[in-house]
Symmetry: C2
Subunit: 285 residues, 2 copies
Amino acid sequence: MDEFNKIESLRTHLGQLRGDGESIAFVPTMGNLHQGHLELVRQARQLASVVVVSIYVNPTQFGEGEDFDDYPRTLQQDRNKLESVGADVLFTPSDAEIYPHGTGDRALLTRVEVPGISDQLCGSSRPGHFVGAATVVTKLLNIVQPKAALFGRKDYQQLLVIRRLVEELNLPVEVIGVPTWREQDGLAMSSRNRYLTSEEREQAPLLYQTLQWVSRQLEAGREDYIQIEQEGESRLQQAMFVVDYLSVMQPSLLPAQSGSRSLIVLAAANMGSTRLIDNCMVNLR
Amino acid sequence: MDEFNKIESLRTHLGQLRGDGESIAFVPTMGNLHQGHLELVRQARQLASVVVVSIYVNPTQFGEGEDFDDYPRTLQQDRNKLESVGADVLFTPSDAEIYPHGTGDRALLTRVEVPGISDQLCGSSRPGHFVGAATVVTKLLNIVQPKAALFGRKDYQQLLVIRRLVEELNLPVEVIGVPTWREQDGLAMSSRNRYLTSEEREQAPLLYQTLQWVSRQLEAGREDYIQIEQEGESRLQQAMFVVDYLSVMQPSLLPAQSGSRSLIVLAAANMGSTRLIDNCMVNLR
């Protein structure tokens, strides 16, 4: 696996590969890789002859008081895992490489805003999060210039924000959402799971179980969405979660409508000091 | 000259050219082409084997009450001029092609914001103008994927906004600013000059003459920038201009500082109902 931490040297390398007729698939990550990430790499292998993975913990998508400083950085283990699944190129830029003007005053940085989709759910609770994520993904896509980029469906709202910006800014890349990889007990894999105490870890699968319970209500034909959301929230609260949101929506993230062919249930909730998110697509009829 | 109005067919064509080893230079325009535009095309010919020109009057960079509806659309004459200077590809997209979600509510469109540079001079007088321009240029660059893109230096602030977004979003393109093309009497060429009555047209060169007068003051060593700006504005007012701004700045568009090696004088002023802009670089010592 070739590793680069400078944009120019990565570009030169990828330009040579492209000149040799290779095609590139790209998996952007924040590192601390788990099976979900490795599945993205495996799927990327099916799509292109060269798989590029980036590991970059982007400061501008973390809010004041969030876990930027604590976010797990495990580069050597990540390298070994990526080698084991056959990633070809690893890009590990510094902050100075990605933000040459610094991130001291974010208001002065060029930014990509995706209104609408960004302004709800996680966007309400984490102001600036999706501007930071949309901007860094735009930058990384422009640096790597892949034909396809793969993202986990666990971060469903992020996936939609990226799909939208790729469409609206006409970025020449295919965005692929890969199903959530789960632990045996159903907990969605996430780098943040390692923040959980063992007691919290035991409770955590109740997030997905609650989403599944809500899904069954919808499959059974219930259309009293607000009531269902409230019942779901109560279940989470009883399981020691502090709920940010539990929402039944259309897959486009517009409000759920009676008679929809499919719906999505999304939730964000804190278990202790750990914010967990998950979602569940529901196909009806 | 090949002409396309669909993004996909343009991309297919350019992809084939790129596959054949051709390189692409790009000149984005709003049409109503004059010698200044044709000079951009001529310079583009020196830089790449294929020159792509776009003609698109972008609604989102015009404000309420500005001249979007009146902006001159002269496609057949533009085609002839482009043929005469050897442009290879013309891209003439519709609004629906560029903004498939419509432009009815701009607040809902994905946008590229370049803070700082955008928030002064023309940006103060034309709120939203540079967001619209930055966003459409990002889109066009992503559609055409040129190795170089050429812009006139008459729109100096726009040139800096584009340089900045290309740098900060890591767009893989070289941005080239081409000197302003002028009429014999010094008036900067602009599609908007055709709005001028013959009387206004006679007065209009006083804009550039005033910038040159300010330049001479600076070359003579004056550093009382505010006083010079006021004197310049008075000269414009005496020439029937309604002044928006006349500013002495650093080439980066930071405030002028004593001892600078070079400065730029920029002005925007209305002659009747026509907004004219121009600028003049001043090299000191």
